[in-house]
Symmetry: D2
Subunit: 392 residues, 4 copies
C-alpha cells in the first residue's frame, strides 16, 4: 500500500473542487463514506450522553497532513492525519515534517507502558492513624480487584501505592483501560476502593480526586507517565534533512541545546516545541477530549547527532491520554476521522497514540528547522493570519 | 435585561424539538440568526488562511450554560455561555455553578493586566559579549518601538527586559495586542527586534522563540502572567451554598486545603480543579485556539470562609490567551457563539476573558461541592458515559 | 528523666561562666566529657579520610535548645539539641518552639520509610535498544543483589526500577543503608549494577549519576522521598499556644493558607518556613553533610485547627539525609554532639531524624507565630545582628 | 604575584608537619597570623549577637584548594580557597578543577546584578480592594525610600513591584545591600514598607514574609535572581582538558546533554552538578550562612564545544547569597578565611561571589570528567570514606 500525495490546487486550494478532491481521497483511504466531514449535520441524538443543553454543533476547519509512513506495533503503515485548527500554516508545517519522516522511512513509534492513574485522598485524625491505614492497604488488594471487576470488564487495577503526607493518605491507583481512555471507569473504581479503605481505617474525610492528577501538566506525570507512555524516533540522513528542511543535524542539535536552557528557566513540564498544536488538532478531529492537551503535551524532544553524522530525533510523550472506544469517538466526524486513520474501536488506541507521537515529532522537526532558517515568521505571513489587511 | 431559564425537556432533552427551542433562545439573545449552529455547513472559503489541505469541518456537540449574571468592566451583564464538549455531565456541572453565582448576584470579574510576551534568545561567543549586548539593549528602545509600529497599529511594545544566562541573552518582550490574541503580530515584532539586537551586538545565533513560552504551563507565566491576567470572585451566603450545592463554606475550605497539598506534591502550575474543561469547551465554541488551554488553565482557586461565615470564592487565571478579533473568531459557529456572548470584534476580548474566569469559578465550585458530597461519580453515571452497556 | 532548664545569665549570657555552666549541663546529659566543644583543638589526624590539604578547623558558635520532650520510636525522650549558627535570634526561636512542644507533651516523631536512591543512566543507539534493555533488567535482579552484597554488609538493594526516556534508561535504585547516610556505598553499588546492565545490554554510554538526585531539592524527592522520610506532629491546646506564642490556632491556619499561595507562586519544593535554618544548625553541630540541607529541607508544614479547636501541627520531611555512622560523625565536636543527643553510632540514625523533624516543627511554629504577632523583626533587633552600630 | 603550589606530604599528608606547612603558606598569603585556624579557641564573647545559649564551637576540618587564577572585576588575582568539609575526596576534586582553570588562564567571573528581594504579603477583603491597593503603591514610592533610609545607610530600595493574586497583594521589594548579605536590613525595611501600605490601604492581614523567598530553591529565584547574580566562564583548549581531566570537549558536552534530561525529569532548580558541595564548604569556612546553600546552589552549568573545538564551560549562579560585612564574617576562623581570600569587609562581597562561581565551575568540571572516565567511585575509595574497615 502506498498512499498518493494529497491533491492540492495551486490556484485556489480552498475552492470547493480542491476540497472535494481531498475528501474523495479520504473516503478511499477510509474505505467508507464520510458524509459529516463533507458537511452533513450530525443528528442531535448522536450527542446523547455526551453533553447537556445541546443547541447544535461547533464546526472547526479540518485538513489532512501526510502521507505519514510509520513503523507501528502492527507493522509499517501509512496514514493521512486529520487535523482541525484555525491556525494558518500549522497543517503545512506538520505536512512538511511528515514528508521528511516518510522519505527517511525510519520513523518508529511505540507505546512503552499503559497506566491510567487516580489519586484519592483520605484524611485521618493524625499521623499515627494515617500510618496505620497505610500499613493496612496491601492486605486489601484482593478486595480492591473484586471491586474494580464489578465496575468494568475492560479495565484492570495494576498497582496500588499508598503514599502518606502528614495525616493524609494518597492512594495511587494505576489502571489499564483497554482501548478506552477510561477515566469514568477509573473514577468509579477509585470511589469504591477509597470508600472501602476509608471505612476499614476510620478516615475522617475522603476525596475521590484529592491529589487531582487530571488535565494538567505535572512533575509526577512527566516522571511516572499516565495513560499511554508513547515514543516516536527517527534517524534522518544529513542530505535528506538538508533537502527537506534546509538545515544540518548540528544546527538542530544547537537550537535544541539553547531551547533546553530556555525551558529550564521557564519552569515547564513540556520540553517539546509545538506538541500542543499537533495534539489539539488531531484530538479535535478524532473526538478526543481537548481538555487533556496540556497533560498529553508534556514530554521530551531529542535532537542529537549520532556517530555517523545523522540526525537522531525523538519525541517522547509519557502521558498521552486517548481512546478509540467510548468518549466522543463513536459518532459523527470523530468516527469518520478515526476510520480515516484506521484506528476506530477495539485495538485502535495504541495505534492512535503512535500516530500522535509521530505527528508531534514531525511538527517539532519542521518548526525547529524553520526557527534555524528564520523562515517561521515568513511562513505565517504567507499562509496564515498575517496577510495584509488582517487583524494584528 | 433578564434572560429566561434555558428550556429543557425532561422526557428527551436531545430531541430535535428541545434543541430547536434552545437554538431559538440563542438567536433571540444574539440578536441574529445562527444558521451554522443549526447545522448549515460553513463554506470552505471561510477557512482560507486558517488551515491548509482542507477537507471539511469537524463537528463537536455544543450546549449552553447559564444564564450567568456577572459584574464586568462594562457593568452587570447576563450571559448564555456556549460550551462544546463530549464529556457528559460537564455542561450540567457548569450550569449548576452558574445558577449559584447568579443567585448570589455577587460574581465580579476583571482583567487585571494585559501583556503578551515573547522571549527571543541570542547566543554570543561568551559571557562578556552577552553582558555587553545586555547593556546595550535599553538604548535601542525607541528603535524597537518604531519596528513594532511598522508591524501593527493595534499592538504596542510595553516592556523590554534583557535577561542573561551565561553566554545567552533572553529578550523578554511584552506587548499589548488590543482585542486580538496577537501572537502572529508579537512573533513578527520579536523577529524584527531580535534581528536588530543581533546585528547591533554581533550575536552568533538568534532564535525567535528561544525561551519558548507558548502553549504550555510554566512557572514564569503563573508568576508573571501572560495575555490577559483575569480574576473572578464571588461572596456566597451560607444558606445559598447549601441550597444549591448542599455544602458548607467550611467543607469547601477543608477540601481546598487538602487539594493544595495534593497539587504541591504533584508539582503543577494549575491549582484550579477543572479549569481545563471549561476553557476547552468555551474556546472550542468560540473559535479560540485550544492549543492554549494548558497555558490558560494555570492559576489559583481560593475557597475561604470570611469573618461573617460566608464563602469567599475566587478563580485567578494569570495567563488567559484569547481574542475576539483575528484567529478563528470571524467565521462560522465561532462568530455565532461570540455574538451569543456579545463579545465579537473590537472591545470584546476583556469581556470574553471575564466570562471565562466566571465560567471557571462556576465549574470549580460545582465540582468541589460534588466531591464533598460524593456525588461526582453518580452524576457521571446518570448523565454521562457510564450508562449501562457503555464502554468502560 | 527530666532535664533541667538550660541555665542562662540575664546579665551577660556570653560570659565564660554562663558558657561553662551550660557546657557542664551538656557533659552531664551526654554522660561523658566534651573537651572539643570546650575549645580543645581536634587533632589533625582525626581528619584523615575526611578532607585533603588540611590546614586546621573552622570554628562555628554552637548553642543548645531544649529540653525537647518527644515521643520517638524508642519511647518518650528528652533532648538538648545542639545548633551551630551565626544567625542571632535563631536558637532562641527554636528554643521557644521546643518549650511549647514540651509543655504540650504531645510531639511525636517517626521515620515512615527508608530509601537512599541512585539513578545511573545508560544511553543506547536508539529507542528500540533502550526498550530491550529495560525489559531485560528484572531478570538481573539476583545478580544485582550479589553485587551490592559484595560492597556492603549494612546496606541492601530494595528496589530496581528501570525508567526509559527516549533512547536513555534511568535505573532507579533504592537502598537501605543502616545507620549510615550511605552515599558512598550506594554510589559504588550503582557503579557495579549499572556496569553490569551496560555490559549485558550493549549501552553506548553509562553515567553513574545520570539523573543526579543528590544535594538538591526536586519534585521527585518531594513525592517519592529519599533517605529517611520523617514526620513530626503535635496537638497543641489553644490556651498553651496563647501562653507560649500569643497566637490562636486560627491565626496560624490563616497565615499558613497565605503562605501556601506564596509558595505556589514561588515554585518551590520546600513548603516549610525555616527548615533550612534548623537543619543546617544541627547538621553542622552533629557532623552531618551541610551540602544536603537543600535536599533535606524539602517538605510540608501543616497548621490546622481540629474539631476541638486545638492546633494540629505537623512537619513532614520526606528526604532527610543523615547518618550516625561514617561520614563526619565519629570525631571531635560532631561525636560530642551526637553523644549529647544520645544518637551516636548504630541504632541512632532514626532517632536523629526524629529529633530533626521535631526541631523543624518547633522552629516553624515559633517563627510563624512571630510573623502573626509582628514580633519577628523586633526579635532580630533585640538578639541579633541589628544592634545599633552593626552593619546593615 | 604567583602563588606557590600547595605543599603536600606524600607519606602522611595529615601529619602535624604537613598541616603546619600549609598553615604557614596561608598566613603568608593572608599577610597576617591565623591563630584560630591553627587551633586557638575563639573566645565566647566573639559570639555575642550571633547565637543564644552558647556552649562552645563546632570544629569542622578545613582544607585549601588552589591556587586559582581568576579574572575578577578587580583584575587578575590568585586565590587559595578555604573549604570546610568531612567528605573525603571533595577538596581534591575542586583542587583538580582549579588547577585546570589556572592552567587555561581564561577563567573570568563577574557579578551581573545585585538585588536582595523580600515579598511581604497583604490580604484584603476582596479582589476589588486588593486591586485598589495595588494601584496605590506606585504613588508611595518616595515614602518607601524614606523609610528604607531610616533603617540603613548601606542598602537601597531599587524596585517595588506589587503583584496581585486574588485578594492578596505581594509586594516584591528589591534592595541593594552593599557588602552585607543584608537580610536583616531588608526584613526590617520590608516590615516598615508593608506596614505603611497596609495602613494606607486597609489591609486585613499583613505577613512580612508572605511569599517567603528565603533559603530555598525556587523557580522565581532561578529566573529573576536574588542576592548576587554571578557567572564564571572559561575557554579550555582540548589538549589541556585531556592532560588534566583525560576527557574531550565532546565527551563533556555529551554527558551534559544526558544530565539535562535527568534534571528535567527530576524537576529541580539546580542544574549544576556539585554546586552545593563547593558552596557549603566555602560558606562554612568563610562564616557565610550555610542555610542559604540550597538557594545559592541553583543555576546552570554549560559545557559546550565552540567552533574551534575548544571547551566553553560556564557556571551561572543567579542567587548567590553572601556578605563580607556583618553576619558571621567578622570573627574567628571566618575572618581568617576571608583574609586568606583577601575579601573581608567593604568591597569584598563581589570578589567573594566571583571566587565562589569559579570554585563551582572548577568542581563541576572535575566531577563531570570523573563521571566520563568512570573514576568517580575509585577516587572516593582511595581518598575518602570507603577505605577498608570503614562504615558502609
Amino acid at each position: 500500500m502506498a498512499l498518493p500525495r494529497i491533491p492540492r490546487d495551486p490556484e485556489d486550494d480552498h475552492s470547493a473542487a480542491a476540497v472535494r478532491a481531498r475528501h474523495a481521497l479520504c473516503e478511499e483511504v477510509a474505505g467508507r463514506s464520510l458524509p459529516h466531514l463533507a458537511g452533513a449535520p450530525v443528528p442531535s441524538s448522536s450527542a446523547r450522553g455526551k453533553i447537556e443543553n445541546l443547541v447544535g454543533y461547533a464546526q472547526v476547519p479540518l485538513g489532512i497532513a501526510g502521507p505519514l509512513l510509520l513503523d507501528t506495533h502492527l507493522g509499517r503503515r501509512e496514514f493521512l492525519v486529520p487535523m482541525a485548527t484555525t491556525e494558518g500554516a500549522m497543517v503545512a508545517s506538520y505536512a512538511r515534517g511528515m514528508k521528511l519522516l516518510s522519505a527517511a522511512g525510519s520513523a518508529r513509534a511505540r507505546v512503552l507502558a499503559h497506566g491510567l492513574t487516580q489519586h484519592p485522598m483520605l484524611v485521618y485524625a493524625g499521623v499515627e492513624a494515617a500510618s496505620r491505614a497505610r500499613e493496612s492497604v496491601p492486605a486489601l488488594r484482593a478486595e480492591f480487584e473484586r471491586l474494580v471487576a464489578s465496575v468494568t470488564s475492560h479495565g484492570r487495577l495494576v498497582a496500588v501505592e499508598p503514599e502518606q503526607v502528614g495525616r493524609r493518605l494518597v492512594l495511587r491507583l494505576v489502571f489499564t483501560t483497554g482501548d478506552a481512555l477510561g477515566i469514568n471507569m477509573a473514577a468509579r473504581a477509585a470511589d469504591l476502593v477509597s470508600e472501602l479503605v476509608a471505612r476499614a481505617t476510620g478516615a475522617l474525610e475522603r476525596y475521590v480526586h484529592g491529589e487531582d492528577v487530571e488535565k494538567r501538566a505535572s512533575a509526577r506525570a512527566l516522571q511516572q507517565g499516565r495513560g499511554r507512555d508513547t515514543v516516536c524516533e527517527a534517524r534522518i540522513p544529513r542530505a535528506l534533512l538538508h533537502e527537506h528542511l534546509r538545515v544540518t543535524p548540528e544546527a538542530l542539535a544547537a537550537i535544541q541545546a539553547s531551547y533546553r536552557i530556555g525551558f529550564a528557566r521557564l519552569g515547564t513540564h513540556n520540553w517539546l516545541v509545538q506538541a500542543a498544536n499537533g495534539l489539539a488538532a488531531v484530538f479535535l478531529a478524532c473526538g478526543q477530549d481537548v481538555a487533556y492537551v496540556g497533560e498529553s503535551a508534556q514530554g521530551f524532544l531529542e535532537l542529537e547527532v549520532d556517530a555517523a553524522g545523522e540526525l537522531l530525533a525523538c519525541a517522547h510523550l509519557p502521558a498521552l491520554l486517548v481512546g478509540t472506544v467510548g468518549g466522543g469517538s463513536a459518532q459523527g466526524t470523530a468516527a469518520e476521522c478515526l476510520d480515516l486513520l484506521g484506528v476506530r474501536g477495539d485495538g485502535g488506541a495504541d495505534l492512535l497514540a503512535e500516530v500522535l507521537a509521530a505527528t508531534v515529532l514531525a511538527g517539532d522537526l519542521s518548526l525547529m528547522a524553520s526557527f534555524c532558517t528564520h523562515e517561521f515568521v515568513g511562513a505565517h505571513e504567507r499562509l496564515g493570519r498575517n496577510r495584509p489587511g488582517a487583524a494584528p
